[in-house]
């Protein structure tokens, strides 16, 4: 006599400890197994793109900090690249080095948040999260030294960075680089051989490569599925063609590979930062641009950057006035979520939380 069961629809609602922001998932369960998932967005929609149309080009920069509020440096970099393409401006070498240095430090900080909260979703009560945040705290102190703010940095300006790094920034950076490898090793020792982490993440939420490419997935999620596609390598911007780094690749595309790819990327980013410190020479940190920028009318540009979450792009259209006519933001978190249904259907509630955590979304960027 088969037991009569009926699917129950649960709102893993906008207010839930592990949806990484205000994401609402309307999930239909058959027991613990997921039958259907429908993500619902818009709870953090601030209309950034419409706001951008009534601000001048430097004021829009303060908007970009608040897109992916965990990686605001890379948002600035993407926007500044788009404006520089629009204006045809050449950024001085030192400015490019400072940008790459800040962006890579921000990538480390963002991946630490991703790894820390993934372990929090797995159930390790905040201990790995604290170790990750302790390491991130050191990076945020460097940002405060660099540009006066820790999270909403608005450090970069079209044409370079707003000002050169203060003299006592470089010794502090060397101190961080010295102890960084030991902090990463400690994190790896705590996580990567832990049998419970292995059994919870291996072979869970497998994303085949073709599905990933078809669903325009980018960033560590795509790399974990087996393709070494990184915009810093494929279409180098700033000084990424002068620094040596390799792109970590996973083989199965499951949660464990995504976790491992992120930790590998942290190591590579630290390598890039130390190379930047060696190669940087004195010089102007910012191109001579007028205070209020006026790109030529009818010009348009698509600046893209390998943000920690994936390919972050700004499509700017100018009509000759001091404000962009249209500023479209290609947000990696929103597009990485298109693959959520393929990843979740057929798995259990506990796997859903871990897979959502391993995709590493940021609602500020999804809802803009």
């Amino acid at each position: 006599m088969p037991i009569r069961t009926e699917p129950v629809t649960v709102n893993i609602g906008p207010q839930h400890p592990s949806t990484h922001g205000v994401l609402r998932l309307r999930v239909t369960f058959d027991g613990e197994v997921i039958v259907d998932v429908e993500p619902i967005f818009g709870y953090l929609h601030r209309g950034s793109e419409k706001l951008a149309e009534e601000r001048n080009y430097v004021q829009v920069l303060t908007l970009t900090d608040r897109l992916d509020y965990v990686a605001s440096m890379t948002n600035n970099q993407a926007y500044c690249l788009a404006v520089e393409k629009l204006m045809g401006v050449e950024v001085p070498l030192r400015g490019q080095y400072l940008r790459v240095l800040a962006a890579e430090l921000q990538r480390v900080a963002s991946h630490l948040v991703a790894v820390g909260f993934l372990l929090q979703d797995l159930g390790a009560l905040a201990t790995p999260l604290m170790y990750c945040f302790r390491f991130r705290e050191k990076i945020l102190d460097l940002f405060e030294m660099l540009c006066g703010a820790r999270i909403t940095v608005s450090y970069m300006r079209p044409g370079g960075v707003f000002a050169d790094a203060p003299p006592d920034f470089w010794p502090a950076l060397d101190v961080l680089l010295a102890e960084a490898s030991e902090l990463v090793a400690e994190l790896e020792q705590l996580l990567m051989q832990n049998e419970i982490v292995l059994i919870r993440t291996k072979n869970v939420g497998v994303l085949p490569l073709e599905t990933a490419i078809a669903h325009s997935v980018s960033g560590p999620v795509l790399k974990a599925s087996g393709l070494a596609w990184d915009w810093r390598k494929m279409d180098p911007y700033d000084v990424y063609d002068r620094v040596r780094f390799d792109v970590p690749v996973g083989d199965r595309g499951d949660n464990y590979d995504r976790l491992r790819v992120r930790i590998e990327e942290v190591k590579q980013s630290l390598g890039i930062v130390s190379q930047c410190v060696e190669q940087i020479e004195p010089g102007p940190a910012r191109a001579e641009l007028p205070f209020v920028l006026r790109p030529p009318a009818g010009a348009e540009a698509y600046g893209r950057v390998e943000a920690p979450k994936g390919e972050l792009g700004f499509y700017l259209v100018s009509d000759g006035s001091i404000a962009p006519y249209r500023c479209k933001i290609r947000s990696p978190s929103l597009i990485n979520l298109t693959v959520l249904r393929e990843l979740l259907i057929g798995w259990k509630l506990a796997d859903m939380i871990v897979t959502l955590g391993s995709i590493d979304i940021n609602m500020g960027e999804v809802d803009r």
Partner: protein, 197 residues
């Protein structure tokens, strides 16, 4: 084998259990802050401010309210205006510092503290009198002259308007913030613009 990974994890937590804690106890101990920190209480020098409201115009949120009245002395020589109202609503401010960047006369500086919390929203508006009497410890954000002077707002002495210095930004010569003048060559060459419109 089954247990080794778990045991290694336990060793990591034990090591951290023994090491001293990383956190500081906030009110008693304080973290060292960098002079460039964009603090809350603005440092505003009335002697330098001409009431041109470039800061109010350049603020992305438009939260600076300036009301000026023509000063009685020497109006024709373009004497400076009296500033009657200079409100900065730090309840809505995001401390991006664009107003400090836009000020052509280095009259407005970011503050260096972050403890100006109040219970009522109205009290979050910094009025002109509070700006006048405030102890002026300007942050060195977007003010390279303070940085070259190694001035640290958290430990240093308050600065009067003469000692705070002024930076000759390239764009401040030929162009008032917001006005539309074609882009000047490097500040070394070229004479000041004729019309200055």
């Amino acid at each position: 084998m089954y247990g080794f990974g778990l045991a290694k994890g336990l060793m990591v937590t034990l090591k951290n259990f023994i090491n001293p804690p990383f956190t500081t106890q906030y009110p008693e101990e304080r973290l060292p802050q960098h002079p460039r920190f964009r603090g809350e209480e603005f440092a505003w020098y009335e002697e330098r401010c001409t009431g041109c409201a470039s800061c109010a115009k350049y603020c992305p949120l438009g939260i600076i309210k300036i009301v000026t009245s023509p000063s009685e002395t020497a109006i024709l020589e373009g004497d400076k205006y009296n500033i009657d109202v200079f409100d900065i609503d730090i309840g809505r401010c995001m401390f991006c510092g664009l107003c400090v960047e836009a000020c052509p006369y280095d009259a407005l500086f970011m503050g260096s503290g972050f403890e100006r919390g109040r219970y009522q929203r109205e009290e979050l508006v910094i009025g002109v009198d509070e700006l006048r009497e405030a102890v002026k410890r300007p942050s060195s954000w977007f003010r390279p002259q303070l940085e070259e002077a190694q001035y640290d707002p958290h430990t240093g002495e308050p600065l009067a308007w003469e000692e705070v210095g002024r930076e000759q930004w390239p764009w401040h010569q030929g162009e008032k913030a917001g006005a539309r003048i074609d882009w000047r060559p490097r500040r070394g060459g070229g004479e000041p613009p004729e019309d200055g419109a």
